[in-house]
């Protein structure tokens, strides 16, 4: 990180200041400090406040609208009702059970889907044969919305756990494959050529040079895969589930419980935020060579 430096010249006759720019002597009357083209730095606290301002304003508007009756409760329940629904579900232990059940499904599905996507993406990005074998099929598969596969999967797997995990895995694999493939293609060919010269081939080349170099792309892929897997989760849990967040959504719909509906949306939002934070943390840990290059 460079910091604005103040040039100090011996003698001080032509000394100029970094800011302000008043003429010091008659000789330098026409001289000005260079216009600052560097990055403008902002205080982290200001940045954080600006980031939080819009969500907080929305929350405040919701609160105010519900309290004054401008938002009818059957359109959008007030925060208080949502909070009490939350408390109720926590006290019965249902919420913890549901979140856990959903997390288990998502975790397993993401693990399988991302693993497959990563493997295929590296293979297609690294070798011409892999690209020819894998890419056309997966591009076609990518064109099919995974929700279109729901009826087929139900006829294959029923509506049990297998169906749910497979659906989430299929949803998560697509972005993982696409971004890993791009990331691997973007690894400096010259470095790969040099590594081959040092006797690295196939899986060893992938593990020790290609995947580490493509890690920023892989982590971005993971972030997108996780958010897509939440969509998969909703779809999967609306059929044949007795627990899970998606099941709660279905219940809310059946009994027309607006407070549950809003609560579920908030839980999904929170999960999304949590995923984002975790991946950002992982980026810092897993790609330390980027050092001061801020991950934003």
């Amino acid at each position: 990180m460079t910091v604005e430096t103040i040039p100090e010249e011996p003698g001080g006759v032509q000394g100029r200041r970094p800011v302000g720019g008043e003429a010091v002597s008659p000789d330098t009357g026409r001289l000005r400090p260079p216009a600052w083209l560097g990055r403008r730095r902002r205080h982290p606290a200001v940045s954080l406040a600006v980031r939080l301002s819009v969500p907080l304003a929305l929350l405040a508007a919701w609160w105010w609208g519900s309290a004054t009756g401008r938002i009818p409760p059957d359109v959008l329940t007030g925060p208080g009702a949502v909070l009490s629904a939350f408390k109720e579900l926590v006290s019965t232990g249902q919420l913890a059970d549901y979140v856990l059940a959903s997390a288990r499904r998502t975790g397993l599905g993401v693990l399988l889907g991302c693993g497959a996507g990563l493997l295929l993406g590296v293979a297609a990005g690294l070798s011409a044969l892999g690209e020819e074998l894998i890419d056309p099929t997966l591009q076609m598969k990518r064109a099919v919305p995974f929700l279109a596969l729901v009826p087929l999967f139900i006829s294959w797997f029923g509506v049990g756990e297998t169906f749910k995990v497979v659906l989430i895995a299929v949803a998560a694999s697509a972005p993982m494959y696409a971004y890993t493939y791009l990331g691997v293609r973007g690894v400096d060919r010259k470095v790969v050529e040099a590594a081959r010269g040092f006797g690295l081939h196939g899986p060893r080349l992938a593990a020790s040079v290609v995947i580490p170099s493509a890690l920023p792309s892989v982590l971005m892929a993971l972030r997108i895969s996780l958010s897509v897997s939440l969509t998969g989760l909703i779809a999967a849990e609306q059929l044949g589930a007795t627990e899970g967040i998606g099941y709660l959504v279905t219940l809310a719909q059946q009994y027309y419980r607006n407070d549950y509906m809003v609560l579920c949306i908030l839980i999904y939002a929170l999960l999304g935020l949590l995923i984002d934070l975790v991946i950002r943390g992982a980026e810092r840990l897993a790609a330390p060579w980027r050092g001061q290059v801020a991950v934003r």
Binding site: A195, F198, S208, W289
Partner: protein
Amino acid sequence: MSGPGEVAVRVRGLTKRFGAATVLDGIDLDVRRGEFVALLGPSGTGKTTLLRLLAGLERPDAGTVLTAPRVTTVYQEPRLVVAKRVLANVTLGLPRSAREQGRRALAEVGLAGRERDWPATLSGGEAQRVALARALVRDLDVLLLDEPFAALDALTRLQAQDLVAELCARHRPAVVLVTHDVDEAVRLADRVAVLRDGAFAVDRAIDLPRPRDALSGAADPAVQEHRRELLTHLGVALSSP
């Protein structure tokens, strides 16, 4: 200095074409272990192509290329893996047991204590020295140098040249250096070959004593004679001294 060892590079009748252009036209070349050969030539004369053929990165259209089994290339760019620390870059592709050797190689290039640095934090000269350490940590028969000093500033370049001369004298591989710098070639090589129109225009032994000092070399009449001769073959018209 001991005499040259067994032949480590043998090239016979090597021809390489790119489309209609014949870049190399029936080249013969032998390089022995411990011998330092510099390839000079105007740009586009196939110096780098010859090196890539030796490295197995291109296929010949005709003729044979034979090399001893352990060949390593240092390129113009350091080509380090940015996601690996310096020591891991040096021991790339080697078992974990090679870490101690890697440390020694880093010390040899003057980077002891920098094992855990990231490549992005190195200067251009330091990164190139890591690339050299990465080549030297392997038991190698043939060292191919593709303009490894071209991207360095003048001062760093002189230091890096000294380092390469010293390391090659110690490890004694067969060395093929591609360069466009006559002074560099005369300073480092036992033999200088000039490539022109797809063939060697000259293949000249540089029998100057070592170590060769950049400063006194500039005033040495023998160095000047080699320089003048090579520049003439490169097509540079010189005014009389």
